[in-house]
């Protein structure tokens, strides 16, 4: 029983982080119909920024996270504005290939800059944790979880409460109409991509405090985002949160009852089943359903 | 007595909570034209989609030539010699006008297997819709009217017994409409049954044997064109109650 509770708690904490990793990916996909294969590279870049700040200037991790988010927002905005906007109207695999190229560029750029060494951002609280009977709740992960969920909720609020958020949603539903209503679609897209990159960067910085990273890990986070975005429904922020946490818990449980090597099989199994049974994602009702596929 | 070409019985379709079509019945016989009118969102396109198998009905049945084809897939319906045009016209880009038409000839009921053997039928249809001269053009190079004729040609290539037209004439000029009407009359004379969804009243009135008015997924009325046009409920459904009242008052004055 303790074992299962422990696994569940840990899975939940992991899941919150998964959600933050994936939410930007889902947003970009939902709003712009762009599958950003460089998303994992953004996550890792965020981790490196926070790590470099901590390593060279002893910047505390929380501040490092904000810095990483800010840097990536700027980078994401410019990338979309100057590059991805150029081919947004092309068939879907064009954007896929463009972002694949970006992924190669960023990941190998990081290797050239920082080598392939494994890094980790040191924190004071590191691995100490709360004890609830036999169950442990590590502070580092708890903080990461809270930050991740907080940021995801902040995004939800942003999307539903602010003018820009509404503009993003409107553009996602019908670009033509949004443009007619006077929205600067290029700017809106760029902001959307910037937000997604910023969240990825923040996620990377948090991940850097609880785990190790090196550039080669980028692909893993992209793939994970893929699974979660589909689970939650594309562009659905609540869905990403639910999908992330679900994935965290399911893999944790799977790890307890099945062979450890089956962990990945479980998540892809869930993915395929969801797609076949309920392609709009677990929470259904994606607001972009009406948009015509290019 | 032979069965009507198309018979729909009590046909319904729900989208979640929305009842797009609720228990509609109708028949169309050989060589006759059913005009299907109604305001936007009345369920006209839904009805066509249900007949051609692009949507599965929630209830009721569709009979083609007396055969129950309820819920059959579109290609099965097409093999029963049912053709249609789409409201949003999407020709097969990257192929010439000739190739666009020949696909219908290759796969339709006629089952002319190879691209080569479909060529004869293709030429026939191209002549019929007046696109022979444009046969080697790409769809992007066509005018609006030519695109509509291509859409019709693609449907005709399968030698339909039943033809369903979804706003084929929208946005066409007078002369162009007349040309299409001419073509439809000749098809009618050949015995093709036609269901035409149309907003262009002039066209619908001149060609329909019977007009069927849909409103909010239900039958509002049906009858010959003159009767239907005179029905105040139709005007009301189309133009809203206030307008109808005003026009009645105007009529009295």
């Amino acid at each position: 029983m303790t074992q299962l509770t422990q696994a569940t708690v840990y899975g939940l904490l992991q899941g919150g982080l998964f959600a933050l990793v994936a939410v930007g990916f889902s947003l970009v996909w939902g709003v712009m119909n762009v599958v950003n294969l460089a998303h994992g590279a953004f996550v890792i870049t965020g981790a490196y920024i926070a790590w470099k700040l901590a390593d060279a200037a002893s910047v505390p991790p929380l501040l490092g996270m904000l810095a990483a988010a800010a840097c990536l927002f700027a980078a994401g905005y410019l990338l979309q504005r100057l590059l991805i906007n150029l081919i947004v109207n092309a068939p879907i695999w064009m954007t896929l290939l463009l972002t694949f190229g970006l992924d190669l560029l960023i990941v190998n750029g990081l290797v050239l800059l920082f080598t392939g060494d494994f890094r980790s951002i040191p924190t004071g609280y590191a691995t100490s944790g709360l004890r609830l009977g036999q169950v442990r709740v590590p502070y580092g992960r708890l903080l990461g979880f809270l930050l991740a969920v907080g940021l995801t909720l902040a995004l939800v609020a942003f999307m539903s409460r602010t003018r820009m958020g509404l503009a993003i949603r409107a553009t996602g539903m019908d670009r033509g109409a949004a443009r007619l209503m006077g929205m600067r679609v290029r700017h809106v897209y760029a902001v959307t991509f910037g937000i997604a990159a910023a969240l990825a960067g923040a996620a990377g910085a948090i991940l850097g405090t609880v785990a190790t990273f090196n550039p080669a890990d980028a692909g893993r986070y992209t793939l994970q985002s893929f699974v979660i975005a589909v689970l939650g429904g594309l562009g659905n922020m609540w869905g990403a949160l639910a999908g992330g946490i679900l994935l965290g818990v399911v893999t944790a449980w799977g790890g307890q009852y099945l062979s450890g090597t089956l962990v990945n099989a479980i998540s892809f199994g869930v993915l395929v089943v969801v797609l076949l049974v309920r392609p709009t994602g677990l929470l259904g009702r994606p607001y972009y359903e009406l948009r015509q596929e290019a | 007595m032979s069965a009507p070409v198309l018979e729909i019985r009590d046909l319904s379709r729900r989208f979640g909570g929305l009842e797009a079509l609720a228990g509609v019945s109708a028949t169309v016989g050989e060589g006759s034209v059913l005009g299907l009118i109604g305001p936007n969102g009345a369920g006209k396109t839904t009805l066509i989609n249900l007949v051609t198998g692009h949507l599965a009905p929630s209830g009721g049945s569709v009979l083609i030539d007396g055969r129950d084809l309820t819920g059959a897939r579109p290609w099965t319906i097409a093999k029963a010699r049912v053709a249609r045009t789409f409201q949003i016209i999407k020709p097969f880009r990257g192929m010439t006008v000739r190739e666009n038409v020949s696909i219908g000839a290759m796969f339709g009921s006629a089952r002319t297997a190879s691209p080569r053997r479909a060529a004869a039928r293709t030429d026939e249809v191209l002549a019929q819709v007046g696109l022979t001269a444009r046969a080697d053009a790409t769809p992007q190079e066509l005018s609006v009217a030519e695109t509509r004729r291509l859409e019709l040609g693609r449907a005709l290539a399968i030698r339909p017994r039943l033809l369903l037209l979804d706003e084929l004439m929208a946005g066409l000029r007078h002369g162009e409409i007349d040309a299409v009407l001419e073509l439809l009359r000749s098809l009618k004379a050949e015995g093709v049954a036609i269901v035409a969804v149309e907003h262009v009243m002039r066209a619908i009135m001149s060609i329909s044997d019977q007009v069927f008015v849909l409103h909010e997924g239900r039958e509002l009325t049906r009858g010959n064109p003159a009767e239907v046009v005179a029905d105040p409920r139709v005007v009301e459904a189309y133009l809203g109650e206030r307008y109808a009242r005003r026009s009645r008052e105007a009529g009295r004055a």
Partner: protein, 407 residues
């Protein structure tokens, strides 16, 4: 339409150009006072870190040997010239590169990084009649295929975990009774785990759990949660660096505290392990192919201590065992060429097979399958943030701290 013709023509020109461009290259293994050696390494991709370490090891070897007059072959002395190619951490590319080296007449090969790439390369080496000095492919599987041209200077995979078990069994007081084995699901780690399990049984330890997880995992919490319930005295991780760090880190998070301690293959001797884990690394046991306390010396690198000094001079930091094993492979190849008195691959191969020398890396002597069986594996422990050799006894720097955990 003409474009089809056009594209076919472009294609023809491209293929022709390539055929001509690549068809002309040639050259012997030894030309004009240099000895050309090929090395396909993981310079990009998932093993880029280890690939770079291996390259550094080869470079130290090249520099030292050339500075000391090169390799003497029948009166003349040849300078080493190592051609590096990137295999992108993909075994098929490594194999293809070895073939390309063969095209260029390069018959002497220094091994790629990792068991998978080495295995792929060794098959090609065998077919082409090349000779390969393997610096890092430890999986015993490579040596069961009857290959006669691949020689590994390092101890085989089965020794990694088993050395830790032996060290603990010999030195630990109280001697642990139960052991849990966590293993990454790749060929090398699985072979190492099997070796460890066999040794544990022989030493009378009770193996109470064997938990596999995917290779390159950074989350091993599921395996740890399972193991925690069984309360083992010793946890052995058959892993690479990232999984090794994850085991220690997440054990702390989850409160997995074996009464004895942790032992891991590969990970603990590397500086990244200590840097990343800080105090948590304290007390962890690790197996190492090489430690600076190794006895023996050779004419080029002197003793292990000398090697450390040489390496520091070139790269400004202490060598890891990955560096040392790479240098040793290069050293073995150089010695074999000298002994053969020729750069002929067959003669070098025979000289390699009969090599029996001491070196800074320990004794180098290959058995019939090409494994270096005489060299012992060392066991180290992280004590006060330093890597300290605790086993074998003749190389011991400091006694084993036991229980190792909770330092």
């Amino acid at each position: 339409m003409r474009w089809r013709t056009l594209s076919v023509l472009i294609l023809a020109v491209a293929l022709g150009a390539v055929a001509c461009g690549t068809g002309k290259t040639s050259g012997g293994g030894a030309t004009g006072g240099t000895l050309r050696i090929g090395a396909a390494l993981s310079l990009t991709g998932s093993l880029a870190r280890e690939g770079l370490l291996t390259k550094q090891g080869y470079e130290v070897c090249r520099k030292v040997i050339n500075d000391k007059g090169g390799v003497k072959v029948g009166g003349s002395s040849l300078n080493l010239d190592i051609a590096y190619q990137d295999d992108k951490s993909e075994p098929d590319v490594a194999a293809q590169l070895v073939d390309r080296f063969n095209d260029d007449g390069v018959k002497l090969i220094l091994g790629p990084y990792g068991s998978a790439s080495t295995e792929a390369a060794s098959a090609v080496v065998e077919r082409n009649g090349q000779v390969m000095a393997d610096s890092s492919g430890a999986d015993d599987k490579i040596f069961t295929k009857g290959y006669k041209r691949t020689f590994a200077v390092l101890s085989p995979a089965t020794r990694y975990a088993s050395s830790i078990v032996r060290a603990v069994a010999e030195l630990a007081q109280p001697k642990p009774k139960t052991v849990a084995v966590l293993t990454a699901d790749d060929g090398f780690s699985k072979t190492a785990a099997e070796g460890g399990i066999a040794e544990a049984k022989q030493q009378g330890l009770d193996v109470i759990a064997v938990e596999p997880f995917p290779a390159h995992a950074t989350d091993v919490s599921a395996a740890l949660t399972k193991v925690r319930a069984k309360n083992p005295d010793l946890i052995i991780g058959s892993v690479h660096l990232e999984e090794g760090i994850a085991i220690i880190k997440q054990s702390r998070e989850l409160g997995v505290t074996p009464s004895g301690g942790f032992g891991e293959t590969v990970a603990p001797p590397t500086p990244d392990f200590r840097k990343t884990l800080g105090k948590q690394a304290e007390g962890v046991l690790g197996s190492s192919q090489w430690v600076p306390q190794v006895t023996g010396q050779d004419k080029w690198f002197g003793t292990a201590k000398d090697y450390v000094a040489t390496y520091r001079q070139q790269y400004g930091q202490d060598p890891e065992y990955h560096n040392a094993e790479a240098t040793a492979a290069c050293l073995a190849l150089g010695l074999a060429v000298e002994n053969a008195g020729s750069t002929e691959p067959d003669k070098v191969r025979n000289a390699m097979a009969s090599l029996d020398v001491p070196s800074f890396f320990g004794p180098i002597k290959f058995d019939a399958t090409g494994k270096n069986v005489t060299k012992p594996m060392a066991v180290i422990q992280i004590q006060n943030g330093k890597v300290v050799t605790v086993w074998p006894k003749d190389a011991q720097e400091a006694p084993l701290r036991w229980p190792a955990a909770g330092a």
